[in-house]
Amino acid sequence: MKIVKILGLVLVAAFVVIQFVPTSLNQSDVISTEDFMSTYKVPQQIETILKTSCYDCHSNNTKYPWYNKIQPIAWVIEDHVKVGKEELNLSEFGSYSKRRQKSKLKSIGSQIEDGEMPLSSYALIHRDAKISEDEKRLMVEWINKIIDSL
């Protein structure tokens, strides 16, 4: 019984301590000229889908939820954003070579089509980020059109 009490205290103490570990925020005021939106002529509907479902992890600007103030949640989010940006950074899309843009567009299309993106864990919390079947079709069609034009 005493052990449980101590363990509980330890956990609480650890929880308090980690709140003081700083995290860096993925936010930038600069609107990059290399941004996906400036690289292509993006229709309004597509832009909305990209901004709500992709940009949080795949750009230099994350719209953070309130619970990003709490550790260890903030660490998980930080890690997701880091990995997401390495894979695809829509803020720097224009700086990719044509070859890479093409290959990335293909991957974007197939990931959305297969429902692998946005991540289900992300869509579970961000209900508005979920891409409906209609939106999926719209998105994939548009992406294929861009690929063919490159």
């Binding site: 205290l9 330890v10 650890a14 070579s97 070859r99 890479r100 197939s110």
Partner: protein
């Protein structure tokens, strides 16, 4: 007061321990990867005569100069990966993905003119990305990336040349039509493997 000290001490110890154990689990992971590679090495030994092995034999006798020999390592790894996908061997394909990512880095660009260097750099960047994905993905995903990789390798060879004859083959069914390279003019489909082994046709011969 003493109790308080004990608790703080306890917390510090737990935190240290958890940091240490995190590190340990990472090393374990690396060790696991090591064994995985070893196993597939053994598996590879037992593989039947694949055309990349045939290619390897040819290579020994070929009088390739230094310039193309680097590209040959890339082509060789690409062909082994192709064979793994033909054989529906996800593990071997992943291993070749990792090896290809390494050989792509060592391609020397000095002999090429500026425009070619730029093109090659872009090809290598893109091909490396595909190879790295193939190294960590399930087979469906590996095949998706193999398509892009095949485009990159074909474009690379257009610049670097090849000391062996290659056949560009084409499957009209996979993803609205997809190509790949082989040393044999016999069709063995890497996009479908055993499901549709002979689907496709020879499109071009590359010298």
């Amino acid at each position: 007061m003493r109790k308080m000290k004990a608790i703080i001490g306890f917390v510090l110890i737990t935190l240290t321990l958890s940091v240490v154990s995190c590190k340990e689990s990472k090393t374990n992971e690396a060790a696991d990867n090591g064994t995985a590679v070893e196993t597939s090495e053994v598996e590879k030994e037992s593989h039947k005569h694949s055309d990349s092995e045939m290619k390897h034999d040819k290579n020994k006798t070929a009088n390739s100069d230094q310039k193309s020999s680097k590209a040959e390592a890339i082509i060789s790894n690409y062909l082994k990966m192709k064979d793994a996908l033909v054989a529906d061997d996800e593990k071997e394909a992943a291993k070749m993905g990792a090896e290809l990512a390494v050989s792509l880095k060592s391609l020397s660009l000095n002999e090429f003119n500026e425009a070619q260097q730029k093109e090659l750099r872009e090809i290598i960047e893109s091909a490396t990305e595909h190879a790295e994905h193939i190294a960590k993905s399930h087979m469906d995903h590996q095949r998706e990336h193999f398509k892009g990789l095949s485009v990159d390798i074909t474009d690379m060879i257009a610049i670097t040349g090849t000391s062996i004859t290659l056949y560009e083959q084409f499957c009209p069914m996979y993803d609205k039509g997809s190509a790949w390279l082989s040393v044999s003019n016999e069709v063995r489909n890497p996009y479908y493997g055993s499901k549709m082994l002979k689907c496709g046709k020879v499109q071009k011969e590359i010298y």
